[in-house]
């Protein structure tokens, strides 16, 4: 088995490597991917049309809005799937009350976490809100914010984290994020344009068409960040307790 596995892997690798001689060189500016009309349009026109210097955020939240919307739905479905697979309800008397993990990770870790947790959460909000001008956005900031709750659960025990971010609240937040995203698209529809065409919102948002698109991206990113935060924490708490949500890792 090992031999055949190795043989097939080497054959696949050889085929792929023999195909690379038709590929563009490293750093080639005239390769089809780099000189194509789509990416040139994104680089040259994004800031003019949306007033967002970070092209990745602009392309992610505006030009490819459908893609990102269903990406958020994918995360939501993954979280729901994990809950459906793992979560067990009912009595948990069979678990012994040794609870090594319930009181957290000791005084030193608690002290450190209480010092750096506000910093991490503030930085996560900065990443979400400043994603137009610096690397960041909804996914990244959501992961940071979810990581802060995971840190809380690791240091103080899962019960403490659940008192801040209970299971019900997790699911509500996850659904709320998608609701914000889709609702923003429907708002565009109501204002007389296509779904997720933010330029229709210039009559209710200040600053003209470009700034309307920029602000809409911020709203959409906030929705993405809510969903990602909630689902990350839900994933951690379900996976680390085998779906019982009683004692932390």
């Amino acid at each position: 088995m090992k031999f055949f596995g190795l043989l097939s892997v080497i054959i696949v690798g050889f085929l792929l490597l023999s195909a690379t001689k038709d590929f563009p060189n490293w750093g080639d500016e005239d390769s089809p991917a780099n000189s194509g009309p789509v990416s040139s349009f994104y680089i040259e026109k994004t800031e003019e049309k949306t007033k967002v210097p970070n092209m990745v955020t602009a392309v992610l939240a505006d030009y490819r809005g459908y893609d990102t919307m269903f990406e958020t739905v994918v995360i939501f479905i993954a979280g729901i799937g994990i809950i459906a697979v793992l979560r067990t309800y009912g009595s948990n008397e069979s678990i012994p009350k040794n609870q090594v993990g319930d009181e957290g990770a000791g005084l030193l870790a608690r002290m450190t976490c209480s010092l750096i947790l506000p910093f991490i959460q503030l930085f996560a909000l900065y990443v979400v809100a400043h994603g137009h001008h610096s690397p960041g956005g909804g996914f990244q900031g959501g992961v940071m914010l979810g990581a802060s709750y995971i840190l809380l659960a690791l240091a103080y025990g899962l019960a403490r984290a659940k008192s801040c971010f209970s299971e019900k609240r997790t699911l509500v937040f996850a659904a709320l994020g998608i609701f914000i995203y889709v609702g923003w698209g429907v708002l565009c529809l109501v204002m007389g344009s296509e779904f997720l065409n933010y330029s229709a919102l210039d009559s209710i948002l200040p600053g003209g068409v470009e700034m309307a698109r920029s602000h809409s991206m911020l709203a959409v990113e906030i929705g993405v960040a809510l969903t990602v935060t909630a689902i990350m924490f839900s994933m951690f708490s379900n996976l680390s307790t085998k779906g019982r949500l009683d004692k932390g890792l």
Partner: protein
């Protein structure tokens, strides 16, 4: 940037590299887990702080508004690592201690119970060890 500041930052960066060399050799060469942890915790943190300070001085340059902000962020990373790296080393050390890793000693006679810690005399009982051993044996036989 003044020449003096530049030289100062270069000295900071190079000294950080020297301390990191110590940490890396220590992690490579020390004989057992606890001493390796020693090298990792101290040398790593100090070298990070030194290099970060040097880079912050580099970035500040001619004291513009935005570059001061960047320098503050870099120093924030240094503070973050200064807080977190010893903490994680301590926690991992505690985990290894509870795990029953035996420290190396000259006469090689130190047993796990000699240290007087809350070791796994009863929790890692002989029964569970035997059970695990038979389970692995069963796998190997297959």
């Amino acid at each position: 940037m003044s020449e003096l500041l530049n030289i100062f930052s270069i000295i900071l960066i190079l000294s950080g590299l020297v301390f990191f060399l110590g940490a890396s050799i220590g992690i490579l060469r020390f004989p057992d887990f606890y001493t390796r942890m020693h090298a990792a915790g101290k040398g790593d943190t100090l070298s990070t702080i030194l290099i970060m300070s040097g880079m912050a001085i580099q970035v500040i340059g001619d004291f513009e508004g935005s570059s001061v902000l960047v320098a503050i962020k870099i120093l924030a990373i240094a503070v973050l690592i200064m807080l977190t790296s010893p903490t994680s080393t301590h926690l991992l050390m505690k985990a290894g201690y509870d795990d029953g890793i035996i420290p190396v000693s000259k006469d090689k006679k130190t047993k796990i119970n000699d240290l007087g810690g809350p070791f796994l005399k009863d929790s890692l009982s002989e029964k569970s060890v035997a059970k695990k051993k038979t389970a692995t044996k069963k796998r190997v036989k297959k």
